[in-house]
Symmetry: C2
């Protein structure tokens, strides 16, 4: 299997699994139980917290464990907005956000919040100048992704924070696609909240975390017991949390090697695929996730490519896994100025530490044939459907 969908999920690292194992067996205690069995589970959680904190350079007590990156995003946006609602009701997000951010914001619109959706440039970059323009006296929160898993572009979070701080606005960054893939320093970024997901860096599914700067007020999303310092109730998923800690420790130790590995393969992939006629890289050419290569292929539907790649044991995606079944035009590519028909030719290869040079060779061997075949079959190629001819025009004035 040649797996190129690491933004959807990663395989669990076997060393991480081994670290989790005792917590599926003899160490099954509830961390809130006062006896030894509970206390060793509690200690395991606190050890994991230290490791996750080290990966993003914060204090352990600034990490709250959740069940997923989506939960972390929801908690940050709703939690901070509700905690600050007396100060204002305006929130700023971008059009390149993940659905867990966009739909959290939309839900708040039904509760008397006002949301500005910033349009990025053609590379998917959000402009700090646009942020500045959008801020008004009611603005309490900005939530911008650190990098979109669909286009790989890394956003200028530190600059956005600088602008926000001049106006006493809190900043949350969705770091699900970045954490474990590039160096993260929340102190340097200056963010007030930062979301993480373990299965994006070879940890288990079912484990996420939210960095919350000390002193940042927030309301819980899940109310109940005193777990996670009263910020997130529910019996802790001890094995998953332990796994997230181990995965964070490994990601930190291996980050330079991992980055160099995927970047080298990615560059070869981009070089090779963009040589094919009318195949274009999407997202930023340089300022992007090291393992991320995303394209639009003119005159073709992404689904066809995925199926023909799968027939050759190659697994990639046409966009965000969370919406892949909807078969709708990608809102992110639309916001960057691509026409609806072109966005259907979207394909994303996200690389991981398990990918090899041979994997890339296989993609480069099969993709030209697949594209040729699909274009021959497609009536669209003749009609000009799915061609890029309107990128620049449609970019203007679509501030929705």
């Amino acid at each position: 299997m040649r797996y190129f969908d690491h933004v959807a999920t990663n395989p669990l690292n076997p060393e991480v699994f081994n670290a989790m194992l005792p917590y599926f067996k003899e160490e099954f205690g509830n961390p809130l139980s006062v006896y030894g069995l509970g206390q060793s589970a509690k200690q395991a959680i606190e050890d994991a917290r230290v490791k996750v904190a080290a990966l993003v350079n914060c204090k352990a007590q600034e990490i709250t464990f959740t069940s997923s990156g989506a939960e972390s995003n929801n908690m940050a946006i709703r939690g901070i907005a509700m905690a600050r609602r007396k100060e204002g009701n305006h929130i700023i997000v971008s059009r390149v956000e993940h659905h867990s951010v966009l739909n959290s914001a939309r839900a708040l619109e039904k509760e008397d919040f006002v949301v500005t959706y910033l349009v990025p440039d053609k590379f998917g970059m959000v402009s700090p100048a646009d942020i500045k323009k959008a801020i008004n006296k009611d603005t309490i929160l900005i939530s911008i992704t650190h990098a979109s898993s669909e286009i790989g572009t890394i956003e200028p979070i530190a600059e956005i924070v600088k602008t926000a701080k001049e106006h006493n606005v809190a900043v949350h960054a969705d770091g699900v696609a970045t954490t474990g893939n590039i160096p993260i320093d929340v102190m340097q970024l200056g963010v007030d909240a930062y979301s993480l997901s373990a299965h994006q860096f070879y940890g288990p599914k079912g484990a996420g975390a939210l960095y919350l700067k000390r002193g940042q007020r927030i309301l819980p999303l899940i109310y109940g017991g005193i777990q996670e310092n009263g910020r997130r109730a529910g019996t802790e998923n001890v094995p998953a949390i332990v796994g997230m800690g181990k995965a964070a420790e490994m990601a930190k130790a291996e980050l330079p090697t991992r980055m160099a590995h995927v970047k080298k393969l990615r560059d070869k992939l981009i070089d090779g695929l963009t040589k094919i006629e009318k195949v274009h890289l999407t997202g930023h050419p340089d300022n992007r996730l090291p393992g991320h290569a995303s394209f639009v292929v003119e005159y073709i539907e992404g689904e066809g490519m995925l199926l023909m790649l799968e027939a050759n044991d190659i697994y990639s995606a046409s966009g965000s896994a969370c919406t892949s079944k909807a078969l709708k035009a990608s809102p992110i590519l639309l916001s960057m100025g691509y026409s609806s028909s072109v966005t259907h030719g979207s394909i994303v290869f996200s690389l991981g530490i398990d990918n090899t040079e041979e994997d890339i060779d296989q993609v480069l061997e099969h993709m030209p044939k697949i594209i040729k075949r699909l274009r021959e079959m497609s009536p669209f190629a003749k009609e000009g459907w799915g061609a890029i001819d309107d990128l620049e025009e449609s970019k203007e004035g679509n501030h929705v």
Copy 2:
């Protein structure tokens, strides 16, 4: 180890763990991915949904997977309340609810909802007549636990539903302590929503579910992608969901055997412990969870008993694990009319399929000695602190 804290958490059944294993290894796909690896994960989730549905007698599509019982409770209460907010703003809960229910209700009070907290009788039973009295034209939701993990009393949910239906009020029951421990039939109960937690029936931590009657409107707690039919976003915790399915299947198959096993041991434990002077069963004498034995021991603090039991390798609890560190008087026992000092002598033995007759013999051997020793050490015994003398009086009129 003699483990008597199954309401805090259960050990994971080894067969359940084996069912989860492939999903930590080769079957790591994201269920939303269109290729085979994703689709087999998706199928595993749907198979688990059928099994969980069978355990509570509903349709598979009426089950939404969550990360915990606490999340299910939060989702049901907030989600149904917000979906029905235009119809009214009044919610009814009881004083014997878990903190995830009580604190969800309290959070809604800050958003213009009005909550009635019903006081139970001295056995912890909520009266359907009190429900009827509490319902007014603004009532939209009633949330009552099917059984409290602290006192074991099984509540008359079917009767409560009957009353509620006469007034078009939705009913949620917290089934975390009951599911897998007694037969559950949500059709027969008539509830609109029912919360489950996998680690309460030998499944994994990190997996919960919410039964939602077909047609019941609800807003999500976690917004984002299209997972769980748009009801609960976030990449699915596939291994945990598979484990919950397997645990549900086993619980259904083994339920009569499991119930008979724990009930026999429990009855022996209750008989033995209530022979000790000034040790009293709390909760309902008959209408209680088959593996649940809870007591107050006059003149003694629960913590001391727990520590001395632990020294003899016996693990029990003084109340809900979620609040065990707070060392506060149990609000549930207070609501039943016990005085604050008596509640400190609370101790809960919750039995599981792994307990043996020898375990009970050990408790019955050690407890009289421990109680004697602690009473000799305690100044309270002489001062009458922690004595039951006010149960009946304090019961009256404490509708808070």
